[in-house]
């Protein structure tokens, strides 16, 4: 589903973010991308949804090398990739429903489809009660649920999460991971970048470890530390 081959990324400031990364993530896998801040986790995710381009190497998503993708095709790539952030990135002046519906609106979907799919996504994340609330009225965990609903509303085959529990307490973090696991079991490839040790250890999934931009360990049923 996602394949990185000899990927290097050096930012224009000269900072070397990724160094010779080779990584294959199969269909419907659940992968933890771990490492300390600045290890290159976020950069790696950005390469997948083409917010950044590699300095060299190939980034193949669903058989397409997105490193070479024409700019006009990027929107269509992104409709197949859901992204979840630590800071949620919700539209502050729109309700929960509008935030989720937004991701469908941009695809030009008809109104009835938008309503049905948005409600389905909100039901899946357990936020049906709060459809008319605004983001500032929600707790951190609830905001993250809305963010996840928005990410999956298009039924993308891939879901990327960048530190999804960074702003949440342990119990809520656990709930969010359960939710991501549930989405994974509905045939979605899930990649979670995190430095939350307890969660990684508890979930017993594939663990890919980055250190200073290098891939240093790739282990099935892995732990945060060896």
């Amino acid at each position: 589903m996602i394949e990185l081959t000899n990927v290097f990324k050096t930012y224009s400031s000269g900072i070397e973010s990724l160094y010779d990364i080779n990584l294959h993530i199969g269909k419907e896998e659940f992968v933890f991308l771990v490492g300390s801040s600045g290890a290159g986790k976020t950069t790696l995710l950005k390469l997948v949804y083409r917010e950044e381009r590699p300095t060299s190497g190939k980034v193949v998503v669903d058989r397409v090398n997105v490193a070479e993708l024409d700019a006009s095709q990027i929107p269509f790539l992104r409709r197949n990739i859901g992204v979840v952030f630590q800071d949620f990135k919700l539209l502050a002046k729109r309700t929960v429903f509008e935030n989720v519906a937004f991701a469908l609106r941009v695809t030009g979907a008809p109104r009835s489809t938008i309503r049905r799919k948005a409600m389905q996504a909100l039901e899946l994340v357990g936020m049906l009660r709060r459809v008319n609330s605004f983001p500032h009225e929600l707790s951190g965990g609830e905001k993250q649920r809305v963010c996840i609903a928005r990410a999956i509303v298009n039924n993308p085959p891939i879901l990327l999460a960048d530190e999804p529990t960074g702003n949440l307490d342990p119990a809520t973090s656990w709930d969010i991971l359960q939710l991501l696991d549930k989405i994974n079991k509905r045939n979605t490839t899930v990649v979670v970048a995190t430095h939350n040790k307890s969660i990684v250890d508890e979930m017993k999934k594939r663990v890919v470890v980055l250190e200073n931009g290098r891939l240093v360990r790739d282990q099935q049923l892995g732990m945060y530390h060896v």
Binding site: Y49, R50, E51, S72, P75, F76, L77, R78, R79, V83, K89, L91, K93, F102, A103, R105, V106, T107, G108, A109, P110, R111, R150, N154
Partner: protein, 295 residues
């Protein structure tokens, strides 16, 4: 695309509401610039009108040699009326002229007693078809035998035409400069509302919105701001022009002001369309610039 149209329009109005003060600034700027633009247009139009009306009234006067008989004068009249560019020739005999002259001074003193013999020549009032033929016709006539002198106000017409040309040129450059300044202000105003929504743009792009999808609401916002500004300018122009015309025609009834409804409507329409064009360009340029910096 059509299912999105409603969304774009709702988004545009939402942005305008949120824009508040900056939106008002953009509307007022467009209105002021277009009012000045329209004022110039009306000024040039009226000056041109005055020149053409005044010069069409301009005729030249040809004086014959004094001792010409009426028959000879009639022959000259025929010759004059056949000259190219001549519209009409009116003949006034020396006797008629003398009687009129005496009538004008009638009663004050007896001219006949002072001046025994009629000192005036026969005169022809010649109207030309178009003002620019005046000089040529005047030259031809003055070269005719039996014509003593030709008088016309060619100099005045030339000066007026130069004046209109200058106003037209100055007005045009001013209008171009003003449009550019207005465009800059509109671009920056809409850009401020774009910047205020940078997160929105980022999220839109993130969930897979195409550039054109992101652009439409801002372009529609530009159309609305432009229409409002242009509409205000149109209203101000219409009201002030009509009251000015009313006052001027009372004070200077002979002044030929433009009252042609079709022409005026065209000018008012140009201001509204101009506002809309400025708004569209402003919206398009600002959002395109913002998108260039986006992911």
């Amino acid at each position: 695309m059509f299912s999105s149209l409603e969304f774009f329009i709702v988004e545009a109005f939402r942005s305008i509401r949120r824009g508040g003060l900056m939106t008002s600034v953009a509307v007022v700027t467009i209105a002021v610039s277009l009012t000045i633009f329209g004022t110039f247009l009306l000024l040039v139009l009226n000056l041109g009108n005055i020149v053409s009306v005044v010069s069409s009234r301009m005729d030249l006067t040809a004086y014959t040699q004094k001792d010409l008989s009426l028959d000879e004068a009639a022959a000259i009249q025929l010759k004059l009326s056949r000259l190219p560019g001549v519209e009409k020739v009116e003949f006034t005999s020396k006797t008629e002229a003398w009687n009129k002259f005496k009538g004008d001074f009638g009663g004050k003193f007896a001219l006949d007693e002072v001046i025994r013999e009629n000192p005036l020549p026969h005169t022809f009032a010649v109207q030309v078809r178009t003002p620019d033929q005046l000089t040529q016709v005047a030259r031809t006539i003055s070269n005719l035998a039996d014509i003593d002198e030709v008088r016309y106000s060619g100099q005045l017409i030339k000066q007026m035409q130069t004046l209109v040309g200058a106003v037209r040129l100055g007005g045009l450059s001013l209008v171009i400069l003003l449009s550019l300044a207005t465009l800059l202000i509109v671009v920056n105003t809409i850009r401020l509302t774009v910047l205020a929504r940078e997160t929105d743009l980022y999220i839109m792009k993130l969930v897979g919105a195409t550039n054109s999808f992101v652009k439409w609401p801002f372009i529609i916002e530009g159309v609305i701001i432009g229409l409002l500004g242009g509409g205000v300018a149109c209203l101000v122009l219409k009201v002030s022009y009509e009251s000015t015309v009313l006052r001027l025609t009372q004070a200077l009834p002979f002044l030929p002001l433009v009252g042609d409804t079709f022409l005026l409507t065209a000018i008012y329409a140009v201001t509204v369309i101009g506002g809309m064009a400025l708004g569209i360009m402003g919206g398009y340029i600002s959002v395109s610039r913002a998108l260039k910096n986006e992911v």
